[in-house]
């Protein structure tokens, strides 16, 4: 197609991932025009599915956090309601929280949803843990309330109001998960079991902010988790359909190549690889600042601040997933849990260290989807996906000619570890197999090094200061906001939808201010 100038849009969203799709709906609901540019032939980014033989695999979603039931909705269900997509999707509830196993033989625990049930079960596994676990959840509740307040004022919190209403939140707010759990005098074994979710955030509990972890755990345990029946592709198409209903446009096979500026630091449009210019003054980037400031933005508009702030950040885990379609049912194979966390050690800092190298990483977060939704594959079959992450760029050492073998080696190890730890023999039942490596994630979503979790939220770059600096961070280039795993809320489905919601609404605010100024 020849280069041409397209019609102008109030805002252009780069990337139809979870954050981009949510942002586009918010912009359209605000009454402004919006175009979504997507490099792939589908919406959703990681939120998609793919078919192999008689199986349709979930590409990435393990469980949607903070969704809740229709009667007691979580924040994400409420958001989906507001976006107008809740009813477009058929939902299924996840039966239990997690099954945590450590290969050193120390743990094999199945934890339920619900604070009472969770606390009771913990007391069974670790007698004497009840008091500290109860206090943990009380503290988490305050964290959740404080964050709800913070969101309601767009991060511009009143310190005296905070001190009065959320004193524990502030006192615990600067500490890591392990520091807080120790202060609560939680028995070590209860800490270990409670920390099982850490791999969902990709930072070990010595460095992960308690606020971040606590706010996630309480959402899982009190509001339980849900899944769309037709895999996450159903969510992505529901959002896509909503964009079209609201009059928005979405172009596939249309990666943004450049963000054009006027030379004075103002965005003037987005340019596609074939030279097509889409005039706009507002961009929501559902991709990394590394890609935006390193490749997309006009070189003369890239400031020292952009470079410093982007270089300062640390990439989070690079993803690896094995997908298996098995020709026996979960019951026949003896697979009883929906969601397994298998670690070598419950010491998350030590485990994190082992995850730096491909060769020493044997962690897996494994789902057997049929145990949440039995009809997800034909009768007499089941499907599983095994996910891990590499905490350094070690995968970058893989060569072309070793690529397929390298994928097989890790897949083989995942199957070996799962069989050994659960006693379920699955190898002979493999009918379909697919592997997504960091290379695959880099290919489909363009993320640096195949990172699937955005920037690490450890230490100084933890969730709370990110949220408190939301406005300040957006000041790096007026007219540009980020959504998705690299944005202020960090990675994960729920967080990505929320960042899209925030950046979409804030872009509407920017557009309204701009209209008033005229």
């Amino acid at each position: 197609m020849s280069a041409h100038k397209a019609k102008a849009y109030d805002a252009v969203v780069i990337g139809a991932g979870n954050g981009g799709l949510a942002a586009a709906i918010r912009i359209l609901q605000g009454g402004f025009s919006c175009l979504v540019l997507e490099k792939h032939d589908l919406p959703g980014g990681f939120a998609t599915s793919f078919r192999r033989g008689r199986f349709e695999f979930e590409a990435s979603l393990h469980e949607l956090n903070d969704f809740g039931s229709p009667e007691a909705p979580g924040d994400i269900r409420v958001l989906f309601r507001e976006l107008g997509v809740e009813e477009k999707i058929d939902w299924v509830r996840i039966p239990e929280a997690y099954h945590m196993i450590t290969t050193d033989g120390a743990y094999d625990c199945v934890m339920p949803f619900g604070v009472q049930a969770f606390t009771d079960k913990m007391e069974q596994y670790v007698p004497g843990s009840r008091k500290s676990v109860t206090e943990f959840f009380e503290l988490c509740e305050e964290v959740r309330n404080a964050q709800a307040y913070s969101t309601s004022v767009n991060g511009k919190t009143d310190p005296s109001y905070m001190k009065e209403h959320f004193p524990n939140f502030i006192r615990a707010g600067s500490y890591s998960v392990n520091e807080v759990l120790a202060a609560l005098k939680m028995p070590k074994r209860a800490q270990d079991i409670l920390n099982a979710y850490w791999c969902y955030l990709g930072v070990d509990c010595d460095r992960m902010s308690f606020l971040h972890y606590g706010s996630m755990v309480i959402r899982y345990i009190t509001r339980d988790a849900w899944m769309p029946k037709m895999r996450s592709h159903e969510i992505s198409l529901a959002l896509e359909t909503r964009i079209r209903e609201l009059g928005g446009d979405i172009w596939y096979h249309s990666p943004a190549a450049k963000i054009a500026t006027d030379g004075g630091g103002k965005i003037t449009g987005v340019v596609l690889a074939d030279g097509t210019l889409i005039p706009t003054r507002h961009v929501v980037a559902n991709c990394s600042p590394h890609v935006v400031f390193g490749k997309m933005l006009d070189a003369n508009a890239v400031t020292e601040r952009m470079v410093r702030e982007t270089n300062a950040r640390t990439f989070s885990g690079r993803g690896f997933t094995l997908f298996l379609g098995l020709n026996k049912s979960a019951e026949e194979l003896g697979i009883r849990s929906h969601n397994y966390f298998i670690y070598d050690t419950a010491d998350s800092a030590k485990q994190y260290d082992m995850m730096r190298k491909v060769a020493t990483n044997h962690v897996q977060a494994t789902v057997c989807l049929n145990n949440a939704y039995p009809e997800c594959s034909p009768k007499g079959t089941c499907m599983m996906y095994f996910t891990t992450m590499f905490m350094s760029d070690d995968w970058g050492n893989v060569t072309e000619t070793d690529y397929f073998k390298a994928k097989d080696r890790i897949a083989d190890d995942m199957i070996r570890v799962f069989e050994r730890e659960t006693g379920c023999k699955i190898r002979d039942a493999i009918e379909e197999i697919a592997v997504a490596s960091p290379t695959t994630y880099a290919r489909y979503c363009g993320h640096p090094q195949g990172v699937i979790y955005g920037y690490e939220t450890g230490g100084w770059d933890s969730l709370m200061p990110r949220l408190m600096m939301m406005d300040e961070d957006a000041g790096v280039l007026p007219g540009l906001r980020f959504a998705g795993g690299y944005a202020m809320r960090s990675s994960g489905y729920s967080s990505a939808y929320v960042s899209g919601d925030i950046s979409g609404r804030q872009t509407v605010g920017d557009l309204r201010k701009e209209a008033q100024a005229k």
């Binding site: 970058g396 640096p448 090094q449």
Partner: protein, 386 residues
């Protein structure tokens, strides 16, 4: 409950107030090194999956009556992607007014591709293959997709011993698999049953015979000729049993539909699981209709709208190609999803057994034009070409 870490709770509060200044300082202390343009993993992804490539035909040779080999190089002189032996590429050219693409299995080994050479064996059997066989010459330029498809060996799924059954031009993926095995990139041992009408119609016989001392066992099966050194007839269960234990192998089949049906009949008595037999996909054909109607097809590509006729017996993809719309496509069999498009209105039907859509695609109105026929005037939104 009152949480305190320090004995005096105000120290905890003080620490909290430092979160923002600490982060501000850490961000400002970032390096001024220019941001990287790429990373090793992303470079590997680009080499393995370059998308559409501009290629030039460098050599043509006769393989058998009605079948030629076409060798390509990349216009930029670069390597072709390393791939899984058994995969195909989609070759795109311009024939008359039409932009036409067809999938062809790769004959070269993955290492040959890496060395910059990629060969296809194409039988004169249709619109584009006929054009290639009759008119294509060295120096001609085409576009080529990256290697794709799931018709390849999987170490963790398949048996160590594989049986490949080729019918006629269906030999091509197995030449690549045999070469790749000989080069040490595949762990299987391979017995190839290669069916043709006569010896003269066996393409790549010399190459396959040369691989005999590298572990390839080839059984030639001629239906119309009886000759020493060749089996006569078809690939029957009895024939298989002479060479392998039919229950202890994984099958790869590539050939015409009639061959698939015949082999399936022969294997029926072993009650093999689904996973034991892999069939290469075939292009979705035109429908055999006596008096096909012609409808109007409206196609949205980004902000452009095109209108063209669409025949009832041809897929929407074919209609777009006739209309010179470079609609994306790869497998033309309904499976790869690369032509995934939004249905906006009108009626359609999908070729039997070729609905490779995801569940939610059906719910929200998405189609694969490569296997979809119009039943009325119809309107769709397709992705731009790469």
């Amino acid at each position: 409950m009152k949480f305190k870490k320090q004995i005096f709770g105000f120290l905890d509060m003080l620490r909290f107030t430092k979160l923002v200044p600490n982060r501000r300082a850490a961000l400002a202390a970032g390096s001024t090194e220019p941001l990287p343009k790429s990373w090793r993993t992303n470079e590997l992804a680009r080499r393995l999956h370059p998308g559409m490539m501009d290629v030039e035909l460098t050599a043509v040779r006769q393989l058998a009556p009605g079948m030629q080999e076409f060798v390509f190089r990349r216009l930029d002189g670069g390597a072709f992607p390393f791939f899984r032996a058994g995969q195909y590429i989609s070759l795109q050219g311009i024939v008359g007014e039409s932009i036409v693409s067809r999938p062809y299995s790769i004959v070269s080994s993955p290492r040959e591709a890496l060395a910059g050479k990629l060969a296809l064996g194409v039988a004169d059997a249709g619109f584009f293959s006929g054009y290639l066989n009759r008119e294509a010459k060295p120096g001609d330029r085409f576009r080529m997709s990256e290697p794709s498809g799931e018709f390849h060996y999987e170490t963790l799924r398949d048996k160590p011993q594989i049986v490949c059954v080729a019918g006629g031009a269906g030999i091509t993926p197995f030449v690549s698999m045999a070469r790749s095995m000989a080069e040490g990139d595949e762990p299987f041992s391979m017995t190839l049953f290669y069916g043709a009408r006569t010896e003269a119609q066996l393409a790549y016989k010399k190459e396959l015979d040369a691989l005999a001392d590298k572990g390839l066992r080839t059984v030639y099966v001629l239906s119309d000729e009886e000759k020493p050194g060749f089996e006569h007839g078809f690939v029957t269960a009895e024939l298989l049993e002479q060479y392998v234990d039919p229950r202890e192998v994984t099958y790869f089949l590539c050939g015409p539909q009639a061959m698939y049906a015949f082999v399936a009949g022969q294997l029926a008595k072993y009650s093999l699981p689904v996973k034991a037999v892999h069939k290469d996909a075939t292009c979705c054909p035109n429908l055999a209709l006596d008096a096909p109607r012609t409808f109007q097809l409206t196609v949205h590509v980004r902000d452009e709208v095109f209108m063209m006729p669409a025949r009832e017996d041809e897929t929407l993809l074919t209609a777009m190609e006739r209309g010179s719309i470079p609609a994306p496509n790869k497998c033309r069999a309904g499976g790869c999803g690369y032509c995934h498009s939004k249905w906006l209105g009108g009626e359609f039907c999908i070729a039997d057994g070729r609905d490779g859509r995801r569940e939610a695609d059906r719910k929200f109105g998405f189609i694969h034009p490569c296997v979809t026929y119009p039943l009325s005037d119809i309107e769709i939104d397709v992705p731009a070409s790469e």
